[in-house]
Amino acid sequence: MNRILRSVPLVLAVLILGACASGAKFSDTSPSLTPASGETGRIFFYRPSSLGAAIKPDVRLNDEVVGEAVAQGYFFVDRPPGEYKVTTSTEVERSLSLVLEKNQTRYVRLAVTMGFLVGHVTPTLVDAETALKELPKTKAVATK
């Protein structure tokens, strides 16, 4: 019994670390902050915290899955200007509505809060100033 209990922290650590982003670090690759085409806008999604790393809900943009909210991860998509709704679902759905303009870059922070059974991941809109302080610590996650 003691042997099993001693192995719990190791198992938890493996679960948590294995759930974090493992791609190239933002600060090493310095991806372009502006959209590839002047006719589109760019939306960065990032989750700076490792809290609740085992929970990785899909990130939907107007009902289309664009990526996963992976702990300490980021990804971006380019989209035409327009109105967008970002949603994430765990035991509840959380949403953010935003407007994207041509040649504009928006930053969506995926914040983790405690839930009843599992953590909630809430998308929030942040300024470039805030995002560019937090993004360098994150790693790339593939888009879907």
Partner: protein, 125 residues
């Protein structure tokens, strides 16, 4: 044990959507004459936004006119993202009447959220 099971069965469906931004549909935004801008000369604190979520419009941010509603003139800024937050988050533009913020316009929902008390703006001359 039976009580705990009953609680677990009942709570997940409703416990976390306790608060949301209450908004009402707005009149169509009249684009009017574009080009009007203002720059804040001091921080503007909005402490009675929905869900008591404080907001500060920062000094030095520039706000551009995007249209008019019966409640006032609507502005947005490229220097600062403004949202209203409860359980969900909505991008919001301030509606200004006589140099005071009287409400917020939600551009995606095409809706209004009125402030209980107008908030005065400090604008650079």
């Amino acid at each position: 044990m039976a009580g705990l099971m009953a609680t677990l069965a009942l709570l997940p469906g409703c416990a976390f959507d306790l608060a949301d931004v209450r908004y009402t549909p707005s009149a169509p935004l009249d684009p009017g004459d574009a080009g009007e801008t203002f720059t804040l000369s001091a921080d503007v604190r909005i402490d009675r936004a929905p869900c008591n979520y404080d907001r500060v419009l920062r000094a030095g941010t520039r706000w551009e006119y995007v249209g008019s509603l019966p409640e006032g003139r609507v502005f947005r800024s490229k220097d600062q993202s403004l949202t209203l937050e409860c359980s969900n988050v909505f991008e919001a533009y301030p509606i200004v009447d006589q140099s005071r913020i009287v409400a917020f316009y939600l551009p995606v929902e095409k809706a209004l959220v009125k402030l209980p008390e107008p908030v005065a703006l400090a604008v650079q001359p």
